[in-house]
């Protein structure tokens, strides 16, 4: 007999019910199966009505974040055998409204990414000077922001962040890390443009260094570090504009 494990899966069918319930499914427990493989087994063999997001199944597209036994994880990278003998409780990511079953509503998050202006703001006084027309950027300069460019937008950090949980207007870890990814890029001159968003009411000061975003991040981005570093920048700029109002305007 093949070993099996029980999945307790949160179901929410908005046409039928006003709040989520749990349904249990038994799936094979195989060494190489991720929680996502278990869900796919349910979908293909047991219950076609289960809805969830997934795509690359190699931890890079960021689709399949869910809450498994209380922790925010990528289900393609969390293995059933690590939860044996079970049961494994699969719920949608926390801190987001639920559309259906394991699918959360993420327009707020995507909107926030845009709000921090995540693109290169060119410095007209420093055009590209490489032989092929590229901006020169040494490996050390690349290293400055590289970590922050590794975010896959999986939203596990928002799910782990109590500040975002209590107040959805907080810009949040991934968006701040994304802003820092551009602020610290040697090709960018958009620091001032992003400041209003980052140091404003919904910006970095909402964070009190809980650190759960960094522990939840599956890609080692360290949003908590990004936020603390930006606090120093924001404080310095605020002090500058207080002491030298005209210099800061320039």
């Amino acid at each position: 007999m093949e070993e099996r494990i029980t999945l307790q899966v949160a179901r929410y069918r908005p046409e039928q019910e006003s709040k989520p319930t749990f349904e249990e499914y038994e799936v094979p427990l195989r060494e190489e199966w991720a929680v996502l493989d278990g869900l796919n087994y349910v979908k293909d063999r047991l219950d076609g009505t289960l809805s969830y997001r997934w795509s690359c199944r190699m931890g890079i597209c960021g689709s399949c974040g869910m809450t498994v036994n209380g922790e925010p994880v990528l289900t393609c990278a969390a293995f059933l055998s690590d939860f044996a003998p079970g049961p494994v409780r699969v719920e949608p990511l926390r801190n987001f409204p639920v559309i259906r079953d394991l699918v959360i509503e993420m327009t707020d998050f995507v909107h926030k990414l845009g709000r921090v202006k995540p693109w290169i703001v060119a410095d007209d006084e420093a055009p590209p000077e490489g032989a092929h027309g590229e901006y020169l950027q040494t490996p050390e300069e690349l290293e400055e922001y590289h970590q922050y460019s590794m975010c896959i937008n999986c939203m596990l950090c928002y799910s782990a962040c109590p500040v975002y949980g209590l107040d959805q207007s907080f810009v949040g870890p991934a968006a701040i890390a994304l802003a820092q990814r551009y602020n610290m890029d040697s090709r960018d001159a958009g620091n001032a443009l992003r400041m209003a968003e980052l140091s404003g009411h919904d910006g970095v000061w909402g964070c009190t260094f809980v650190g759960e975003c960094t522990s939840a991040c599956p890609k080692g981005v360290d949003p908590a570090g990004a936020i603390q570093r930006y606090k120093v920048t924001a404080a310095t700029e605020a002090a500058k504009s207080l002491l030298l109002p005209r210099a800061a305007e320039k």
Binding site: Y12, P14, E15, S18, K19, P20, G70, R94, P97, V98, I99, E105, E140, P162, V163, G165, L166, T208, F209, V210, G211, E212, S215, A224, G225, Q228, R229, K231, V232
Partner: protein, 137 residues
């Protein structure tokens, strides 16, 4: 152009309520809530300090009354709790500081955890000096 209107289903989002004891889920959440709470006690210390300064400025007897007032068990308990929160605040700050500062050694960033050591050591030394100054000297 008009085609048949299809309203579909107006997605009714489920917004999970925040459980009353959500902060008990994790140590870090508990610390977060305690830190939020700590602002009250930090504010208390500020007020306390102002009262102290005022008393010192008045007269020696006023200062003595302040000391007597401070010596009652309730005040000692309150200040002990406030001290606890202030320490929590300080520890958080000293943990965050290395994350926020980038120190480079031979072109490589020194890991924040390594930076934390000296900061805490400096804190202990300064505190030790103050204790010596105020209590022992």
């Amino acid at each position: 152009m008009s085609t048949s209107t299809d309203p579909g289903f107006q997605a009714r989002l489920y917004r999970p309520p925040v459980p009353r004891f959500w902060w008990a889920r994790r140590r870090s959440y508990l610390l977060f809530i305690l830190r939020e709470l700590s602002s009250l006690f930090v504010a208390w210390f500020v007020a306390y300090l102002l009262v102290l300064a005022y008393a010192v400025g008045q007269s020696e007897s006023a200062y003595q009354r302040f000391l007597d007032w401070s010596a009652n068990p309730f005040m000692i308990a309150l200040n002990a709790v406030a001290l606890g929160f202030a320490v929590l605040h300080a520890v958080t700050f000293f943990q965050a500081a290395p994350q926020a500062t980038v120190v480079r050694l031979r072109g490589r960033r020194v890991p924040p955890t390594l930076l934390a050591g000296p900061i805490f050591a400096a804190w202990v030394v300064v505190s030790g000096f103050l204790i010596w100054l105020v209590v022992l000297a």
